[in-house]
Protein backbone atom coordinates (compact mmCIF):
# COMPACT_ATOMS: atom_id res chain seq x y z
CA UNK A 1 0.00 0.00 0.00
CA UNK A 2 2.83 2.42 0.73
CA UNK A 3 3.95 4.31 -2.32
CA UNK A 4 7.57 5.25 -2.65
CA UNK A 5 8.22 8.15 -0.39
CA UNK A 6 11.58 9.61 -1.20
CA UNK A 7 12.98 12.01 1.33
CA UNK A 8 16.25 12.48 -0.50
CA UNK A 9 15.03 15.54 -2.36
CA UNK A 10 14.67 17.43 0.91
CA UNK A 11 18.05 19.03 1.44
CA UNK A 12 19.35 22.07 3.25
CA UNK A 13 19.88 23.74 -0.08
CA UNK A 14 16.27 23.18 -1.02
CA UNK A 15 15.07 24.46 2.33
CA UNK A 16 17.31 27.51 1.97
CA UNK A 17 16.28 28.08 -1.61
CA UNK A 18 12.51 27.73 -1.31
CA UNK A 19 11.33 27.52 2.28
CA UNK A 20 13.51 29.99 4.19
CA UNK A 21 12.16 33.02 2.35
CA UNK A 22 8.59 31.92 3.06
CA UNK A 23 9.36 31.12 6.70
CA UNK A 24 10.79 34.58 7.21
CA UNK A 25 7.70 36.15 5.68
CA UNK A 26 5.39 34.04 7.89
CA UNK A 27 7.43 35.13 10.90
CA UNK A 28 7.48 38.82 9.95
CA UNK A 29 3.75 38.71 9.25
CA UNK A 30 3.11 37.08 12.64
CA UNK A 31 5.23 39.60 14.54
CA UNK A 32 3.82 42.69 12.81
CA UNK A 33 0.24 41.41 13.10
CA UNK A 34 0.74 40.64 16.79
CA UNK A 35 2.22 44.04 17.61
CA UNK A 36 -0.26 45.93 15.44
CA UNK A 37 -3.12 43.73 16.60
CA UNK A 38 -2.32 44.30 20.27
CA UNK A 39 -1.99 48.05 19.73
CA UNK A 40 -5.23 48.52 17.78
CA UNK A 41 -6.92 45.77 19.77
CA UNK A 42 -6.22 47.63 23.01
CA UNK A 43 -7.65 50.81 21.49
CA UNK A 44 -10.77 48.90 20.39
CA UNK A 45 -11.09 47.34 23.84
CA UNK A 46 -10.79 50.75 25.53
CA UNK A 47 -13.44 52.10 23.14
CA UNK A 48 -15.80 49.25 24.00
CA UNK A 49 -15.25 49.73 27.72
CA UNK A 50 -15.51 53.54 27.63
CA UNK A 51 -19.29 53.55 28.16
CA UNK A 52 -19.70 56.31 25.56
CA UNK A 53 -22.16 55.26 22.91
CA UNK A 54 -20.40 56.91 19.97
CA UNK A 55 -17.22 55.00 20.83
CA UNK A 56 -18.83 51.69 21.84
CA UNK A 57 -21.01 51.27 18.74
CA UNK A 58 -18.36 51.53 15.99
CA UNK A 59 -15.88 49.36 17.92
CA UNK A 60 -18.51 46.69 18.57
CA UNK A 61 -19.61 46.64 14.94
CA UNK A 62 -16.01 46.39 13.77
CA UNK A 63 -15.06 43.58 16.14
CA UNK A 64 -18.20 41.50 15.61
CA UNK A 65 -18.08 42.09 11.87
CA UNK A 66 -14.49 40.90 11.55
CA UNK A 67 -15.19 37.90 13.74
CA UNK A 68 -18.16 36.71 11.73
CA UNK A 69 -16.41 36.68 8.34
CA UNK A 70 -14.02 33.88 7.29
CA UNK A 71 -10.38 35.03 7.31
CA UNK A 72 -9.97 34.00 3.68
CA UNK A 73 -12.76 36.37 2.69
CA UNK A 74 -11.15 39.17 4.74
CA UNK A 75 -7.87 38.54 2.93
CA UNK A 76 -9.66 38.70 -0.43
CA UNK A 77 -11.56 41.86 0.56
CA UNK A 78 -8.40 43.74 1.50
CA UNK A 79 -6.59 42.55 -1.59
CA UNK A 80 -9.45 44.02 -3.62
CA UNK A 81 -10.12 47.20 -1.64
CA UNK A 82 -6.69 48.49 -0.57
CA UNK A 83 -5.51 49.19 -4.15
CA UNK A 84 -8.85 50.93 -4.86
CA UNK A 85 -8.48 53.13 -1.79
CA UNK A 86 -4.83 54.12 -2.19
CA UNK A 87 -5.16 54.30 -5.94
CA UNK A 88 -2.25 52.11 -6.95
CA UNK A 89 -1.56 48.36 -7.08
CA UNK A 90 -0.11 46.75 -3.98
CA UNK A 91 1.79 43.50 -3.59
CA UNK A 92 0.21 40.40 -2.09
CA UNK A 93 2.68 40.51 0.82
CA UNK A 94 1.95 44.14 1.74
CA UNK A 95 -1.77 43.48 1.44
CA UNK A 96 -1.44 40.44 3.71
CA UNK A 97 0.28 42.51 6.40
CA UNK A 98 -2.45 45.18 6.40
CA UNK A 99 -5.14 42.49 6.45
CA UNK A 100 -3.70 40.58 9.37
CA UNK A 101 -3.19 43.70 11.50
CA UNK A 102 -6.81 44.74 10.89
CA UNK A 103 -8.18 41.22 11.40
CA UNK A 104 -6.17 40.32 14.48
CA UNK A 105 -7.01 43.66 16.11
CA UNK A 106 -10.58 42.37 16.41
CA UNK A 107 -9.49 39.12 18.08
CA UNK A 108 -6.88 40.74 20.33
CA UNK A 109 -9.42 43.36 21.41
CA UNK A 110 -11.64 40.63 22.83
CA UNK A 111 -8.66 39.21 24.75
CA UNK A 112 -7.69 42.66 25.99
CA UNK A 113 -11.27 43.41 27.02
CA UNK A 114 -11.38 40.26 29.11
CA UNK A 115 -7.97 41.15 30.54
CA UNK A 116 -8.97 44.68 31.48
CA UNK A 117 -12.20 43.41 33.05
CA UNK A 118 -10.19 40.93 35.10
CA UNK A 119 -8.48 43.79 36.94
CA UNK A 120 -10.40 44.39 40.19
CA UNK A 121 -12.39 47.62 40.24
CA UNK A 122 -10.67 48.63 43.45
CA UNK A 123 -7.47 49.12 41.46
CA UNK A 124 -9.18 51.70 39.24
CA UNK A 125 -10.66 53.47 42.26
CA UNK A 126 -7.30 53.46 44.00
CA UNK A 127 -5.74 55.09 40.95
CA UNK A 128 -8.48 57.71 40.89
CA UNK A 129 -8.08 58.33 44.61
CA UNK A 130 -4.42 59.07 43.99
CA UNK A 131 -5.52 61.76 41.56
CA UNK A 132 -4.48 59.97 38.39
CA UNK A 133 -6.02 60.98 35.07
CA UNK A 134 -7.77 58.33 32.93
CA UNK A 135 -4.65 58.00 30.79
CA UNK A 136 -2.29 57.62 33.75
CA UNK A 137 -4.62 55.16 35.44
CA UNK A 138 -4.78 52.98 32.31
CA UNK A 139 -1.07 53.20 31.54
CA UNK A 140 0.30 52.77 35.05
CA UNK A 141 -2.30 50.67 36.87
CA UNK A 142 -4.80 48.80 34.70
CA UNK A 143 -3.02 47.83 31.47
CA UNK A 144 0.17 46.40 33.07
CA UNK A 145 -1.97 44.03 35.16
CA UNK A 146 -4.28 43.24 32.27
CA UNK A 147 -1.33 42.34 30.04
CA UNK A 148 0.07 40.07 32.67
CA UNK A 149 -3.25 38.28 33.20
CA UNK A 150 -3.76 37.87 29.49
CA UNK A 151 -0.23 36.95 28.46
CA UNK A 152 -0.81 33.19 28.03
CA UNK A 153 -4.01 33.71 26.00
CA UNK A 154 -2.26 36.42 23.99
CA UNK A 155 0.62 34.08 23.14
CA UNK A 156 -1.74 31.23 22.29
CA UNK A 157 -3.54 33.57 19.89
CA UNK A 158 -0.15 34.40 18.36
CA UNK A 159 0.46 30.70 17.70
CA UNK A 160 -2.95 30.45 16.03
CA UNK A 161 -2.04 33.56 14.07
CA UNK A 162 1.17 31.92 12.88
CA UNK A 163 -0.88 29.00 11.58
CA UNK A 164 -3.41 31.32 9.98
CA UNK A 165 -0.71 33.05 7.95
CA UNK A 166 -0.82 29.97 5.70
CA UNK A 167 -4.13 31.33 4.35
CA UNK A 168 -2.34 34.04 2.36
CA UNK A 169 -2.20 31.18 -0.15
CA UNK A 170 -5.49 32.68 -1.40
CA UNK A 171 -3.76 35.75 -2.83
CA UNK A 172 -0.53 34.01 -3.76
CA UNK A 173 1.74 35.61 -1.16
CA UNK A 174 4.93 33.64 -0.52
CA UNK A 175 4.74 32.23 3.01
CA UNK A 176 6.22 29.06 4.52
CA UNK A 177 3.52 26.76 3.15
CA UNK A 178 3.90 28.32 -0.29
CA UNK A 179 7.65 27.63 -0.06
CA UNK A 180 7.02 23.90 0.48
CA UNK A 181 4.29 24.00 -2.16
CA UNK A 182 6.60 25.49 -4.81
CA UNK A 183 9.48 23.17 -3.89
CA UNK A 184 7.21 20.12 -4.16
CA UNK A 185 5.89 21.20 -7.52
CA UNK A 186 9.33 22.04 -8.93
CA UNK A 187 10.77 18.67 -7.98
CA UNK A 188 7.62 16.69 -8.72
CA UNK A 189 7.39 15.47 -5.12
CA UNK A 190 4.30 17.19 -3.68
CA UNK A 191 3.57 14.33 -1.24
CA UNK A 192 6.89 14.66 0.57
CA UNK A 193 6.72 18.45 0.44
CA UNK A 194 3.31 18.63 2.13
CA UNK A 195 4.36 16.07 4.73
CA UNK A 196 7.45 18.14 5.44
CA UNK A 197 5.29 21.26 5.74
CA UNK A 198 3.07 19.50 8.26
CA UNK A 199 6.11 18.42 10.29
CA UNK A 200 7.57 21.94 10.18
CA UNK A 201 4.36 23.57 11.41
CA UNK A 202 3.90 20.92 14.07
CA UNK A 203 7.41 21.27 15.48
CA UNK A 204 7.22 25.06 15.59
CA UNK A 205 3.73 25.33 17.04
CA UNK A 206 4.06 22.44 19.48
CA UNK A 207 7.27 23.76 21.02
CA UNK A 208 5.79 27.25 21.24
CA UNK A 209 2.63 26.06 22.97
CA UNK A 210 4.77 23.97 25.34
CA UNK A 211 6.70 27.12 26.20
CA UNK A 212 3.47 29.06 26.75
CA UNK A 213 2.23 26.33 29.10
CA UNK A 214 5.41 26.60 31.18
CA UNK A 215 5.14 30.38 31.26
CA UNK A 216 1.53 30.08 32.36
CA UNK A 217 2.57 27.93 35.31
CA UNK A 218 5.27 30.39 36.29
CA UNK A 219 2.97 33.40 36.17
CA UNK A 220 0.25 31.54 38.04
CA UNK A 221 2.63 30.85 40.94
CA UNK A 222 3.80 34.45 41.23
CA UNK A 223 0.24 35.68 41.39
Amino acid sequence: MLMHIDWSFLSWELLRGFVLKGFIFSLVLTVIATLGGVLFGTLLALMRLSGKKWLVAPATIYVNGMRSIPLVMVILWFFLLVPLIIGRPIGAEASAIITFVAFEAAYFSEIMRAGIQSVPRGQVFAGQALGMTYGQNMKLVVLPQAFRNMLPVLLTQTIILFQDTSLVYAIGAYDMLKGFDVAGKNFGRPVEAYLAAAVAYFVICYSLSWAVKRLHKKIAIIR
Binding site: M3, S68, M73, W77, Y194, A198, Y206
Partner: protein
Amino acid sequence: MSWDWQVFCQDTITQEVAQSCFGKGGDITYLDWLLSAWGWTVSVSLLALAIALVVGSLIGTLRTLPDSPWVVRLGNAWVEFFRNIPLLVHIFLWYHVIPAIFPAMKSLPGFVLVVFALGFFTSARIAEQVRSGIQALPRGQRYAGMAMGFTTVQYYRYVLLPMAFRIIIPPLTSETMNIFKNSSVAFAVSVSELTMYAMQVQEETSRGIEVYLLVTALYVVSALAINRIMAFIEKRARVPGMIAAGGGGH
Protein backbone atom coordinates in the same frame (compact mmCIF):
# COMPACT_ATOMS: atom_id res chain seq x y z
CA MET B 1 -17.77 54.05 -8.50
CA SER B 2 -21.24 52.79 -9.35
CA TRP B 3 -23.04 49.65 -8.36
CA ASP B 4 -23.93 47.01 -10.87
CA TRP B 5 -26.06 44.33 -9.29
CA GLN B 6 -27.26 43.16 -12.68
CA VAL B 7 -24.09 41.17 -12.93
CA PHE B 8 -25.81 38.37 -11.00
CA CYS B 9 -28.46 38.05 -13.69
CA GLN B 10 -25.86 37.50 -16.40
CA ASP B 11 -25.43 34.16 -18.05
CA THR B 12 -22.11 32.63 -17.02
CA ILE B 13 -21.10 31.89 -20.62
CA THR B 14 -22.73 34.43 -22.91
CA GLN B 15 -22.74 37.24 -20.28
CA GLU B 16 -26.25 38.20 -21.44
CA VAL B 17 -28.69 39.41 -18.82
CA ALA B 18 -31.47 36.87 -18.22
CA GLN B 19 -34.99 38.25 -17.78
CA SER B 20 -35.87 36.36 -14.59
CA CYS B 21 -32.31 36.43 -13.23
CA PHE B 22 -32.36 32.63 -13.25
CA GLY B 23 -31.09 30.68 -16.24
CA LYS B 24 -33.50 28.65 -18.37
CA GLY B 25 -32.84 25.24 -19.83
CA GLY B 26 -29.23 24.22 -19.29
CA ASP B 27 -28.01 27.82 -18.91
CA ILE B 28 -27.02 29.16 -15.54
CA THR B 29 -26.64 32.73 -14.36
CA TYR B 30 -24.20 33.94 -11.73
CA LEU B 31 -27.13 33.94 -9.28
CA ASP B 32 -27.78 30.23 -9.94
CA TRP B 33 -24.12 29.55 -9.43
CA LEU B 34 -24.06 31.58 -6.21
CA LEU B 35 -26.90 29.54 -4.74
CA SER B 36 -25.22 26.27 -5.68
CA ALA B 37 -21.97 27.53 -4.14
CA TRP B 38 -23.88 28.32 -0.94
CA GLY B 39 -25.24 24.79 -1.08
CA TRP B 40 -21.69 23.41 -1.26
CA THR B 41 -20.60 25.54 1.69
CA VAL B 42 -23.57 24.37 3.77
CA SER B 43 -23.08 20.70 2.84
CA VAL B 44 -19.33 20.73 3.51
CA SER B 45 -19.95 22.41 6.87
CA LEU B 46 -22.84 20.21 8.03
CA LEU B 47 -21.20 16.92 7.00
CA ALA B 48 -17.91 17.99 8.61
CA LEU B 49 -19.87 18.97 11.71
CA ALA B 50 -21.44 15.51 11.88
CA ILE B 51 -18.00 13.85 11.70
CA ALA B 52 -16.56 16.33 14.20
CA LEU B 53 -19.35 15.75 16.72
CA VAL B 54 -19.10 11.96 16.59
CA VAL B 55 -15.28 11.73 16.61
CA GLY B 56 -14.87 14.70 18.96
CA SER B 57 -17.31 13.34 21.56
CA LEU B 58 -15.66 9.93 21.43
CA ILE B 59 -12.10 11.25 21.81
CA GLY B 60 -13.10 13.84 24.39
CA THR B 61 -14.78 11.13 26.47
CA LEU B 62 -11.83 8.75 26.14
CA ARG B 63 -9.53 11.49 27.44
CA THR B 64 -11.39 11.53 30.77
CA LEU B 65 -11.39 7.77 31.40
CA PRO B 66 -9.92 6.88 34.78
CA ASP B 67 -7.07 4.32 34.99
CA SER B 68 -6.26 4.13 31.29
CA PRO B 69 -3.28 6.42 30.77
CA TRP B 70 -2.51 5.14 27.27
CA VAL B 71 -5.98 5.85 25.96
CA VAL B 72 -5.73 9.34 27.46
CA ARG B 73 -2.30 9.85 25.86
CA LEU B 74 -3.61 8.72 22.49
CA GLY B 75 -6.49 11.17 22.79
CA ASN B 76 -4.10 13.96 23.74
CA ALA B 77 -1.88 13.12 20.77
CA TRP B 78 -4.89 13.35 18.45
CA VAL B 79 -5.76 16.79 19.78
CA GLU B 80 -2.15 18.08 19.59
CA PHE B 81 -1.78 16.75 16.03
CA PHE B 82 -4.73 18.77 14.81
CA ARG B 83 -4.12 21.83 16.95
CA ASN B 84 -0.55 22.44 15.83
CA ILE B 85 -0.92 22.10 12.07
CA PRO B 86 -2.87 24.71 10.07
CA LEU B 87 -6.18 23.65 8.53
CA LEU B 88 -4.91 24.41 5.03
CA VAL B 89 -2.05 21.94 5.51
CA HIS B 90 -4.53 19.31 6.74
CA ILE B 91 -6.58 19.85 3.61
CA PHE B 92 -3.48 19.41 1.45
CA LEU B 93 -2.58 16.27 3.40
CA TRP B 94 -6.02 14.78 2.71
CA TYR B 95 -6.09 15.92 -0.88
CA HIS B 96 -2.54 15.15 -2.02
CA VAL B 97 -0.88 12.85 0.49
CA ILE B 98 -3.50 10.37 1.67
CA PRO B 99 -4.66 9.33 -1.83
CA ALA B 100 -0.98 8.79 -2.74
CA ILE B 101 -0.55 6.45 0.24
CA PHE B 102 -3.92 4.69 -0.13
CA PRO B 103 -4.52 4.40 -3.88
CA ALA B 104 -8.09 3.22 -3.26
CA MET B 105 -8.96 6.78 -2.21
CA LYS B 106 -7.84 8.31 -5.51
CA SER B 107 -11.34 8.02 -6.94
CA LEU B 108 -12.91 10.03 -4.11
CA PRO B 109 -13.98 13.55 -5.11
CA GLY B 110 -12.27 16.52 -3.48
CA PHE B 111 -15.50 17.37 -1.67
CA VAL B 112 -15.38 14.15 0.38
CA LEU B 113 -11.70 14.61 1.27
CA VAL B 114 -12.33 18.19 2.40
CA VAL B 115 -15.24 17.04 4.58
CA PHE B 116 -12.94 14.54 6.29
CA ALA B 117 -10.13 17.07 6.71
CA LEU B 118 -12.44 19.72 8.18
CA GLY B 119 -14.35 17.16 10.24
CA PHE B 120 -11.27 15.64 11.88
CA PHE B 121 -9.68 19.07 12.35
CA THR B 122 -12.77 20.28 14.22
CA SER B 123 -13.11 16.99 16.11
CA ALA B 124 -9.92 17.83 18.01
CA ARG B 125 -11.40 21.13 19.16
CA ILE B 126 -14.71 19.54 20.12
CA ALA B 127 -12.82 16.78 21.96
CA GLU B 128 -11.15 19.50 24.02
CA GLN B 129 -14.53 21.04 24.87
CA VAL B 130 -16.10 17.68 25.74
CA ARG B 131 -13.15 16.88 28.00
CA SER B 132 -13.38 20.18 29.84
CA GLY B 133 -17.16 19.76 30.08
CA ILE B 134 -16.81 16.37 31.75
CA GLN B 135 -14.04 17.58 34.03
CA ALA B 136 -16.11 20.60 35.04
CA LEU B 137 -18.64 18.26 36.69
CA PRO B 138 -18.24 17.69 40.41
CA ARG B 139 -16.30 14.50 41.08
CA GLY B 140 -19.14 13.25 43.25
CA GLN B 141 -21.26 12.67 40.12
CA ARG B 142 -18.84 10.03 38.88
CA TYR B 143 -18.55 8.42 42.32
CA ALA B 144 -22.33 8.46 42.74
CA GLY B 145 -22.65 6.58 39.46
CA MET B 146 -20.05 4.06 40.58
CA ALA B 147 -21.72 3.64 43.96
CA MET B 148 -25.01 2.86 42.23
CA GLY B 149 -23.24 -0.08 40.60
CA PHE B 150 -23.20 1.44 37.11
CA THR B 151 -20.57 0.18 34.70
CA THR B 152 -18.19 2.77 33.23
CA VAL B 153 -20.23 2.95 30.04
CA GLN B 154 -23.44 3.33 32.01
CA TYR B 155 -22.31 6.17 34.27
CA TYR B 156 -20.93 8.05 31.30
CA ARG B 157 -24.13 7.49 29.35
CA TYR B 158 -26.62 8.26 32.13
CA VAL B 159 -24.75 10.55 34.52
CA LEU B 160 -21.75 12.43 33.09
CA LEU B 161 -22.40 12.98 29.39
CA PRO B 162 -25.97 14.38 29.64
CA MET B 163 -24.72 17.13 31.95
CA ALA B 164 -21.41 17.69 30.17
CA PHE B 165 -23.06 18.23 26.79
CA ARG B 166 -25.43 20.82 28.26
CA ILE B 167 -22.52 22.69 29.80
CA ILE B 168 -20.58 22.89 26.54
CA ILE B 169 -23.40 24.13 24.30
CA PRO B 170 -22.11 27.75 24.27
CA PRO B 171 -18.55 26.88 23.14
CA LEU B 172 -20.02 24.27 20.81
CA THR B 173 -22.09 27.03 19.22
CA SER B 174 -19.03 29.10 18.39
CA GLU B 175 -17.26 26.00 17.11
CA THR B 176 -20.19 25.30 14.79
CA MET B 177 -19.99 28.85 13.51
CA ASN B 178 -16.24 28.33 13.08
CA ILE B 179 -16.89 25.31 10.86
CA PHE B 180 -18.85 27.49 8.47
CA LYS B 181 -16.01 30.01 8.42
CA ASN B 182 -13.35 27.32 8.09
CA SER B 183 -15.16 25.64 5.19
CA SER B 184 -13.94 28.60 3.11
CA VAL B 185 -10.48 27.00 3.10
CA ALA B 186 -11.87 24.34 0.74
CA PHE B 187 -11.25 26.82 -2.09
CA ALA B 188 -7.62 25.61 -2.08
CA VAL B 189 -8.59 22.25 -3.56
CA SER B 190 -11.19 23.65 -5.97
CA VAL B 191 -14.39 22.68 -4.19
CA SER B 192 -16.84 25.10 -5.74
CA GLU B 193 -18.06 26.66 -2.49
CA LEU B 194 -18.64 30.34 -1.73
CA THR B 195 -15.03 31.50 -1.48
CA MET B 196 -14.06 29.70 -4.67
CA TYR B 197 -17.11 31.32 -6.30
CA ALA B 198 -16.05 34.74 -5.06
CA MET B 199 -12.54 34.36 -6.44
CA GLN B 200 -13.64 33.07 -9.83
CA VAL B 201 -16.56 35.39 -10.46
CA GLN B 202 -14.50 38.38 -9.34
CA GLU B 203 -12.04 37.54 -12.09
CA GLU B 204 -14.65 36.79 -14.75
CA THR B 205 -16.84 39.85 -14.21
CA SER B 206 -14.47 42.32 -12.46
CA ARG B 207 -17.43 43.17 -10.21
CA GLY B 208 -15.51 42.14 -7.12
CA ILE B 209 -17.22 44.37 -4.60
CA GLU B 210 -20.78 43.28 -5.44
CA VAL B 211 -19.74 39.62 -5.55
CA TYR B 212 -17.79 39.76 -2.28
CA LEU B 213 -20.62 41.64 -0.56
CA LEU B 214 -23.19 38.96 -1.39
CA VAL B 215 -20.81 36.11 -0.51
CA THR B 216 -19.90 37.75 2.79
CA ALA B 217 -23.59 38.32 3.53
CA LEU B 218 -24.33 34.64 2.91
CA TYR B 219 -21.57 33.63 5.34
CA VAL B 220 -22.98 35.95 7.98
CA VAL B 221 -26.54 34.68 7.39
CA SER B 222 -25.37 31.07 7.71
CA ALA B 223 -23.52 31.80 10.95
CA LEU B 224 -26.54 33.65 12.39
CA ALA B 225 -28.87 30.80 11.45
CA ILE B 226 -26.60 28.32 13.24
CA ASN B 227 -26.42 30.61 16.25
CA ARG B 228 -30.24 30.77 16.49
CA ILE B 229 -30.63 27.01 16.06
CA MET B 230 -28.11 26.33 18.81
CA ALA B 231 -29.80 28.87 21.09
CA PHE B 232 -33.06 27.01 20.53
CA ILE B 233 -31.42 23.66 21.35
CA GLU B 234 -29.85 25.16 24.45
CA LYS B 235 -33.24 26.41 25.61
CA ARG B 236 -34.98 23.10 25.00
CA ALA B 237 -32.24 21.05 26.64
CA ARG B 238 -32.19 23.19 29.77
CA VAL B 239 -32.44 21.30 33.06
CA PRO B 240 -34.60 23.36 35.43
CA GLY B 241 -32.56 24.90 38.20
CA MET B 242 -29.25 23.64 36.86
CA ILE B 243 -28.29 25.93 34.04
CA ALA B 244 -26.67 28.67 36.10
CA ALA B 245 -23.84 26.25 36.77
CA GLY B 246 -23.37 25.88 33.03
CA GLY B 247 -22.42 29.50 32.57
CA GLY B 248 -25.71 30.92 31.28
CA GLY B 249 -25.76 31.14 27.52
CA HIS B 250 -26.36 33.92 25.09
